[in-house]
Each structure stands twice: as structure tokens, then as C-alpha cells.
Assembly symmetry: C2
Homo-oligomer: 107 residues x 2
Amino acid sequence: MTTEKIDNISVATKASVYFDGKCISHGITFADGTKKSVGVILPASLTFSTGAPEIMECVAGACEYKLAGSDAWVKSTAGEKFSIPGNSKFDIRVESAEGYHYICHFG
Amino acid sequence: MTTEKIDNISVATKASVYFDGKCISHGITFADGTKKSVGVILPASLTFSTGAPEIMECVAGACEYKLAGSDAWVKSTAGEKFSIPGNSKFDIRVESAEGYHYICHFG
């Protein structure tokens, strides 16, 4: 099931712009202080690094990702999630013209 | 004063992507049903059309805009707003590498 909206949060009005605009996200904060982000990756091949562990939840579009130490590209589409360990990295490629729309959960 | 965050709202998790990703926004909804959006325009020259009247509030970066029927380019920076009538259009150009980060208020 796809998470179409997130209720009762605060949103940071300034976007975070990565990779010359190929990835754009807005930070959100829950009442209990939990932080996540909502964003989109436009068609591109990118490598991200993690600090805290992350769970990437796809809400629209699709990507393929490859975790550090793996040779396997895995597809992730709307309603699906994948986990990345902390202090690691992952490759992501987006071919869908729609982009890959996501919620990033930390920790 | 710059609006750095907006509290107690719902955010649409899927971004709206305009002009091949030069403008990306997320819709937000207040408890009373009021809808706005938060977004960013990356360096580009674009023309937008309005349905409802809009107020564009800059939260970071800068743009120059020109309303329909005007020959004047006007600069708008963080903390400043400008209004566009309904059923109209406006040109916007962003030269700041940071982009033009905004809240769009409708009606």
C-alpha cells in the first residue's frame, strides 16, 4: 500500500537540493521529534552515502538500487521499501520519466 | 522574516514535477483544509500560468519575476512575497545557484 500523505507534521520550507537538482527533498518532523524526508529523484544514476541507517519507501515511480558490497540491482516500485545500513552507501538509478518519489525514514 | 517551517500540516508524499524538474513542489494541507505548496525552482527561465490567484513567498534564494502586462523584472528574495492574479501568467528567472525556494499560497 502506498503512503500518499503524512499527517500532523511540520515541513521545512527550504528544500534540500542534491546532485544539481537530480534529487530534491523536504525535511519533515513529527510531534515526537522524529525526522523523515519526502523527496524525488529524477532520471539519473547517483550514489548516496548514509550516516544513520535509512529505509527508502517508494510512493510513486520506480528505481533500481544496489547496496554497497552487492552486485545485484534490485527494482523498487510504489509501496515497496528497502533498507540501507548506517555509514554505508548505495547506488540508485532512475529511468522512469516520472522519477522515483520516496519517503526516507531514518534510524 | 522568513518562514522556515510550517507546523500541523499534512504533506503529499508525491512531488509535483514541472518543466523537466526545474520546478518541484510538494502539496501541503492545513487542518482547516487550506492548501498550499512548498517548492523550489532551480536556475532557469520559466513561464507559469495561474488558475486561482497566488502569492509566492520566498523562503531562501532569489528570483526575478515579471507579471503579465508588465515589462518590469522585479527581484524577490527570502522573506519577500509577490502576488499573481488568477487566470494570468508570470515569467520567473532564477540565476542563484541555490535556487528559489518558496511557499505558494492560493486564493
